[in-house]
Amino acid sequence: MRACMFGLAAALLASPVAEAVDADVGGYMRVSTRPDFQGGDGKLGYWNLYGRLLNETPWVALDSRLNLLEATPGSGQSWAAIHARVEGGSILNADANGGALSQMRLSQLYLLSGSSTASPWEWQLGTLHHWTGDLGLYDMRPDSLFDRTVGGAVRYRSDRVNALLAVGDSGYGLDAERYNAVLTAGGRLRVRVTNRLEVGLGGEGRYEPASPGNVNAPYLTPDLDMESVLRGEVLENFLAENPDGELLFPDPVATDARSWVATGYLGFGDIGPLNWNSTYVRAERLHPEAQTTETYNGTSTTLYLTELTDERTMWMLGNEMNLTLWPQALDAVWGVVLGRHTDGDNAVAPSDHAREYASTVLRLQAYLRPDVHVLFENSFAVETSTNGNAYRNSVGSIFQSQDGIQDDRGLEFGDADTRQTWQGKAGIVLNPLGPGVYVRPSIRLLYGVQVSSQHAAWGSSFIDSQNQYDDFYSDEDLLTDRHIHQVVALEAEAWF
């Protein structure tokens, strides 16, 4: 499908019509320098759960709209346009990837067409990624749908109602190296009940049919248990029970795979100091993984994981409230994120699929002048692993796990199942276009501090293996816990 879209775009651009094509290019950029004297990579913490500010990487996006057929308003003429977006997170001298084009991707390419500019109906063919809005403080899109789908959609846009019905294939999006068709269908409906109230519902279902004989199709290897898979000992255990029995290893059994997403949106505002409140919910059953390979004593075998990874679910609630506390003097944005991930197949090891998290971020922006602002942000987050320890609270805790008892065979890590993180950020913001928390372009000089219950809770170059300690720590006094991290950042961000 993507090849077809590329071909279509190339053919249209190379045709004589292309000379008359009207194009509009938009985009986004953020670039920063954050010299880190604490061995870090410039990010204050691990991820955006503590607020995107100072926890994000550089980013650049170019979004173009080529009007292939431009209709005069009121003429009843049909119209067609191609949207293409190239984006990525690397800029020369700003990150480890040196601005390599390999870090950029054509993340969106679709043809949009309609019978006339007055018609509310539109047709979309190509990538289908769709979301209502963002949690701006977190840079998260909890209600995104069709993130991995290429196909066709019909859209309805009017003043009060926005609707989308889509069908496509998520095979390449879910596993580009082992493509197998994954039929995907769903839609979204958003209704503006009044000017102060909007509601939305959406959903997406995916079905990957059994396809005996296709090595990329979903299969299950009988009698797999999670602990052996995680330890990489399935083949070893089998051969211990069946000496010289490589050929007796169970054959995979074809099966199908299903997954789904359900989303909701509630927006309301224009009530006193509240400009707008956006609430997003998401529930998802993740698509099963396909396979992994194990090698033991020179013998390799493929383990098919569909049955062992088909009970992963998550839900997430995100809320963001935009307030004007003192008109033209002080604005606030308050965000909350709650989430829970469960894995019915794994009760033995911590993972990203067995955790809970809760976070709140409050940003205050005061306007000294229309173009000179002062920013304060405060965030607190608690993350809990529901399958045992996952975090190191001490520099020495790598040598112990499971309540401090040394266990070289343990699947847990560190000495705590909970990580608590506080971040405070403050700085000066220059906004040539005036007041507004999200008004850009912005030039920011920021200071941020993080206090975490986890030792060295930021991307760092500290050694973490025992055999390096003698080399890099000559003085025992240097073996200190690092719970505080500070960065200073000079950043620029703009939409255009």
Binding site: D24, G26, G27, Y28, W59, A61, D63, R65, T72, P73, G74, S75, H83, R85, T117, A118, W131, T132, G133, D134, G136, D139, D159, N162, R190, R192, E198, G267, W276, S278, N322, L368, R369, P370, D371, V372, I428, L430, P432, L433, G434, Y438, R440, W495, F496
Partner: protein, 160 residues
């Protein structure tokens, strides 16, 4: 050390005072400015802007004239707003059309000066539409109008 905090605060305020001022210059000192805003919808039909939006435009561009002077200058905005796409948490719209300046107090069909505009603006929320896009375009339209007036009016002689 005790004095460091107040010293830093004072230094900061002094430094911020050195930044360029952003208030609009009075470019038409002998005239007040009247504005007319008309919008084209996606059916191609033109209609006057809502009272709220017209009021906002009037309030914004009146600053280029002298409020107490007789109305001689007129600014007309013929604009449309079209949705572009979602970009990193913002909803990009394109505001396009033309801005015309009439410096005669009498109704004249020919503007003194006119300029086409095509501006990208960014809205925070999906429920926001054309009206919000045009409001968001005001700071950029101010610059366009400033250029338009300065190009259409003689430059005052230098004091040097």
């Amino acid at each position: 050390m005790v004095l460091m905090k107040p010293i830093c605060a004072v230094l900061f305020l002094l430094l911020s005072g050195c930044l360029p001022k952003t208030s609009l210059p009075v470019l038409l000192p002998e005239s007040s400015v009247a504005t007319e805003v008309s919008l084209q919808d996606n059916r191609g039909e033109w209609a006057p802007a809502s009272q709220e939006l017209s009021g906002l435009f009037q309030e914004t561009f009146a600053a280029f004239g002298e409020a107490s002077a007789a109305p001689k200058a007129r600014l007309t905005f013929e604009l449309s707003a079209r949705y572009f796409s979602q970009l990193q948490g913002q909803h990009r719209w394109t505001v396009s059309g033309s801005v015309s300046l009439f410096l005669s107090s009498e109704d004249s069909a020919e503007p003194t000066a006119s300029t086409p505009v095509e501006l990208a603006v960014f809205l925070d929320y999906p429920h926001e539409g054309e009206e919000e896009a045009l409001q968001a375009a005001l700071p950029l339209l101010q610059r366009e109008v400033q250029d338009l007036i300065q190009g259409a009016t003689p430059t005052p002689p230098s004091s040097n």
